[in-house]
């Protein structure tokens, strides 16, 4: 990963203005980031119609068709580029099985926080009205799941009231309908512009995860790039099974925060999926092309008890 390469940081952070989930901080001349890994931002989505694009990690030129066929993983360096939520759902779950829910929810500027309304408007224009999380029901190899998929491109995937509510409902639906919950995380952290309301989403989503656990339904979290701060320190980390995409940025506090706190040199792989895997905090690192099979197997085996209960209910 090149995220500590300073030029990459500059390039990257400039574009992250709309992503204020806690851990990205800037000062006049020096920049550091926490919640975001750099590379993929500069060309996260290939320009439609262009035949070629450049991998932000290895800088090699990739044929667009190959890139898409390879699930947006660089065929040369294996870099997992970020995915929009809908595409991820298409690539992971049964074709046409996704039933979107909670799409009526919209963020509001309760605190009258400077520039929040403007940022929301821009994000909605760019990404659609779903805020940073898409939620609903789908099937994987015919088995039902309650799912939520976060999208980093909507204000850095930050968790405000809407994201918190959608995650909560996803876990509640899993508990009520006795189906496994699958949540793909992608977030810089809590949404600063909603102040304490967004901090409380940590408790709220954790409460819902506790309820799902008590209901005996499995909950599987997938950490994609990046999974940070308030999201990592709440519902993401207490899943029954935690998978991660290779090289995803995964961490609690941004590098700037760590440095301010007097943390000196950090390991090269600090705050990556590989680092947390090495330290026993997640179960497996799963390449994108194996994600569907891995999830399907886990849903089938871990969800068998809940399915039996569901059958009994019918």
């Amino acid at each position: 990963m090149k995220r500590r390469n300073s030029s990459a940081l500059f390039l990257h952070v400039r574009q992250v203005d709309s992503c204020p989930g806690s851990p990205i901080t800037r000062q006049s001349s020096t920049i550091s980031i926490a919640g975001v890994s750099s590379e993929t931002l500069s060309n996260k989505t290939p320009t439609p119609g262009s035949a070629f694009l450049q991998c932000a990690a290895c800088k090699k030129i990739i044929f667009s068709v190959d890139f898409e066929q390879n699930l947006r993983v660089c065929p040369y360096c294996g870099h997992h580029h970020r995915l929009p939520s809908r595409l991820r759902i298409e690539l992971t779950f049964d074709e046409g099985s996704f039933q979107e829910m909670d799409q009526e929810l919209r963020s509001v500027d309760t605190l009258e926080f400077p520039e929040y309304t403007e940022k929301l408007t821009t994000a909605v224009e760019k990404n659609g009205p779903n805020d940073s999380v898409l939620s609903g029901l789908a099937t994987i190899d015919g088995l039902g799941v309650s799912l939520a998929v976060a999208d980093f491109s909507f204000m850095g995937g930050s968790m405000g009231s809407v994201a918190g509510e959608k995650i909560t409902r996803t876990l509640e639906r899993a508990a009520d309908q006795k189906v496994p919950a699958v949540i793909f995380c992608a977030s810089g952290g809590a949404r600063m512009q909603e102040g304490l309301l967004s901090l409380m989403q940590m408790a709220k989503t954790t409460a819902a995860a506790q309820r799902a656990s008590q209901a005996g339904v499995p909950y599987i979290a997938v950490f994609t790039d990046p999974t940070m701060a308030g999201v990592l320190a709440s519902y993401a980390s207490i899943a029954d099974v935690i998978l991660a995409e290779p090289k995803a940025l995964v961490g609690f506090a941004g590098l700037r925060v760590s440095k301010q706190a007097g943390v000196g040199k950090v390991p090269d792989d600090f705050q990556t999926a590989e680092f947390v895997h090495k330290h026993g905090m997640i179960d497996r690192i799963v390449p994108r092309k194996e994600m569907r099979t891995t999830l399907s197997t886990l849903v089938r085996i871990l969800g068998s008890g809940a399915r039996a209960e569901q059958q009994a209910l019918l």
Binding site: T25, L196, R211, A233
Partner: protein
Amino acid sequence: MAKTHKEWERPLVELEENIAKLKEVARRETDPAKQERHERDIAKFEEGRDRYIDLMYANLGPWEKVLVARAERRPYTLDYVQSIFTNFVELEGDRRGFADHAIVGGPALLEGRPVMVVGHQKGRNIQERQFRNFGMAKPEGYRKAIRLFDMAQRFQLPVISFVDTPAADPGVESESRGISEAIAAAMFKMFELTVPTVAIVIGEGGSGGAIGIAASSRVLMQEHSIYSVIPPEGCAAILWRAPERGPDAAKALRLTAQSAQEFGLIDEIVSEPRGGAHRDPVEAAALVKSALLTNLESLAGLSGDEMRTQRYQKFRSMGTFESL
């Protein structure tokens, strides 16, 4: 704008020093007439000081609240533990190989009633601050808290949390041992409890580090405490690339107890003595104690299941959005 509480309170401290000097002069004065004049002056100055304190504290802006909440002289968790409870026995260690001193806890008696106490602890001098890691708990702190929550559940003890942390520890060690998981697991555990739980923010309610031990049935804040998703300096650094604009960020974040109450995110504001808890720690402790007792009392009638449901619903309802 003042950067520290000390700086902000300097005029007041100077006034108090002068009053003390005048008192000394009066004490040494042998002429009764002159002494009487001094006494009158002292009374006048003291009245002025009180008016000044009232003025300062009646109009505390969000940034001043931040300064007061962080004040070095403000009572910390163990100060409250000492004055509110009896027979406190501190229990230590996470039983996983590590010990943390930024979170303290153990069983104690509250008016003779057994409870479990957990809280962040800051230090007042350099050695203490290092020992307490500036009140920033590492994973082992939250894992110790989980152990105490578990014990509270088994032995049916109400849990009382004192919240006072700038943030959870952000270092390499903490990341390696899973600080995020530790915080999430602590909240998770709190939602499992069937015993009453009351949290009170007594200084800084610093984001994830704070909520990790504050997912409680009742959440209280002292009048001049703060509760925030991000430190104002960090917020200013992100928003305006200017950490020195902390005062503006403090305003934007609505991090005061009064705002938290307005948004329905806390249950009660606990008043502080004139001029803040640090001016009269004894009175401050009495007010906290009385609030704890009232809130525990109000939860006493609930069954274990009701306790859990109440807590779930309380946090479930937090958040504001439009539903089209």
